[in-house]
């Protein structure tokens, strides 16, 4: 289950962050997302270690932490997508698919002429769409 997704701008500022959890650990998830930016930086700055995934937008597992796994995605425009899941066995393809759809939703949101580049995404349509994508991630994994 995805518990948190985030879009982070190129100044490492959160553009959109949403948790999908009933437990009272939203703040902790924010911390986890924020910490994952260090891994993104590390992976982009020292790309040798990532080997075949060089320059791929999908960054893969950023780090596992106590109950979560954190995945990352970095677009050409230096926007980072972060996803936190509680699933232990996650198929790479599912995560890739999730990020692809997430990215598409983001592009649609920022293509809104009333959106100012670099500012937070406040579009409700975007939020709904992300929520749908997040929910379907669970379904896909099951099926």
């Amino acid at each position: 289950m995805i518990v948190c997704v985030a879009v982070v701008g190129h100044q490492n500022n959160p553009l959109y962050i949403q948790s999908f959890t009933e437990a009272d650990d939203a703040l902790k998830l924010h911390h986890i997302v924020h910490c994952s930016l260090d891994v993104v930086d590390e992976r982009v700055n020292n790309p040798k270690k990532s080997g075949p995934t060089l320059n791929e937008t999908f960054l893969g597992l950023l780090y596992p932490t106590e109950n979560y796994k954190v995945y990352g995605y970095l677009t050409n425009t230096k926007v980072k997508f972060i996803m936190v899941t509680t699933d232990l066995d996650v198929r790479d393809a599912d995560v890739r698919n999730f990020f692809r759809r997430f990215h598409a939703a983001y592009v649609d949101a920022v293509s809104n002429p009333f959106h100012v580049p670099g500012k937070k995404i406040t579009s409700r349509t975007f939020a709904e769409r992300v929520s749908t994508i997040v929910k379907s991630f669970g379904l896909n994994a099951a099926g």
Binding site: N55, E56, T57, T75, N76, K78, V107, V110, S111, P117
Partner: protein
Amino acid sequence: MGREVSESCLESLLTEIVSSYCNGFYANKPELAARRIEAIGFQVGHQLSERYTIDRQRFTDHLEAIKFICKDFWSELFKKQIDNLKTNHRGTFVLQDNRFRWLAHVSVDPSLDASGSIQDPSAMAENKASQATGMHLYFPCGIIRGALSNLGIPCAVSADISNLPACSFVVRIKA
């Protein structure tokens, strides 16, 4: 399958933007008008680059990004690629389009132009005409700058019209 836009509509819109900024809002401040038109282009380029890079790997260097602008980005916008790309390898790139679509229907006829601006008879017709053509190029310049900025390459873009349908854009990357 992407959604498409009527080209003539777009051209009319561009013409209208230019004329309303140059003759309407900022009638006697051409620099301000140019800045506003460029800013519109900037946002368009910024947003388009977001969309057109969606399925691409990240660019490793400036040249790769510029090539993207020349090929894919230009194809998406104008259904053709840039015809010639030159660089001095020190951050300046010249992108030449031998038949720039948005200039295809622009002609410099001094008499026509003069008759179009009767309100301002003092203006020298020829100068005014090339200035008006130049105004049309702030928008594509802004698009290029917006796209490159969004790809993490801050730069300055200027345009140069040698003979009319051909147009070259000069990109200077800020160190």
